[in-house]
Amino acid sequence: MPGAAEQFRVRVGRTPSRLVRRDGAASLRFYPARGRTRKPPVFLVYAMVNRPFILDLLPGLSVVERLTAAGRPVYLLDWGEPREEDAGRGLDDYILGVLDRSIEAARRRSKVGSLHLAGYCEGGVFSLLYTALRPEKVRTLALLATPVDYKRMGTLSVWARRANFDAGRLARSYGNIPGSFLHAAFEVLKPFTSLRAEGEFLSKMLDGALSKEQQEHFLALERWKKEHVAHPGKAFAEVVRGLFQENRLLKNAFKVGGKAADLRRVKCPLFVAVGEKDHLVPPAAALPVTRLAASRDARVERVPVGHIGLSVSGRAHKELWPRYLDWIAERD
């Protein structure tokens, strides 16, 4: 049964773009920069578990819009809804396959040797592993709310322990892991938070205390929260086993398709952004990357927001993204 907010289809992802590539379920969109520019592009990678339109939510609250308005061309990789046959595809297929082919396409189209890679949450983990495996293609790496110490992810770390969770069994039974399962788990982490937010929204709206923009913002976020995407089964089991249960990223012992992803090969400039109120990826889980990677040029940004606040809060748009733009401009 659809939620109330889903019945008001707010138009999201309005920044002009064109589809430049399809790769199985995945697609690559290109957002041209405003004005004439020859700046190297930013390549955005989002997590597999939600739709990437959170990065282009609404005008004024869109990371993509902010980047293109500053004269920066943008590519956004959408992993898409996995098909039945994707259930058996592992992380190597996605990182050394889909991601690598998409970055190659972006490099060819933009005629640049390397680009600014920026990954969010699980997309950040994939970007980090990719940089360790293909460092020559990455000019700078930005990691937003990206975990590397999976033992410091609070309740999620406990739930994912081997004694509590058999991800392999779930993947064998279901193939791809239904998005509704992952959504339910995220909702249970903060019980009744959504219900309280909906109550507050309704009460304020009935009082006429919300502007049209505020209503649109709430409904767009609700739409994003409820549009879950399934996670490819084998890749999910690899994430749970290798990262959550064995914490291999922190031990610098994670392998992608049999190849060691040595984080000491990440030498490019590194931009790490964490949300101080992030309950999914707390700063303690994300910050160790600055000592695992060999980058001498590392910048850490702490923003007093939650997990998605790094992309859709006014604070992030006023402070974080302008700083990121200045930072990459100095490293073009």
Binding site: W159, Y174, P191
Partner: protein, 71 residues
């Protein structure tokens, strides 16, 4: 008057949900909750496996259509 009452009620309801939420959140890593998590997964996977098995058994076998046509 009505508006005031609605506001008081809304605030009280929100405070109740907040307390309830914090209580539940505090129990999410308890042995009881983790047992519930394991059992729920067992049940979901078991149910799914049975459903898939039943689907396989009721699906037409290869050649079934040919035989039917011959008849």
């Amino acid at each position: 008057m009505k508006a005031d009452a609605a506001q008081v009620w809304t605030k009280a309801w929100d405070a109740y949900l907040e307390t309830l939420g914090l209580t539940v959140e505090g129990s999410l890593t308890s042995p009881e909750f983790l047992r519930l998590q394991r059992r729920t997964l067992d049940m979901l996977c078991g149910h799914r496996d049975l459903w898939l098995k039943a689907m396989m058994e009721t699906a037409p076998q290869g050649g079934g259509r040919k035989r039917a046509r011959r008849r």
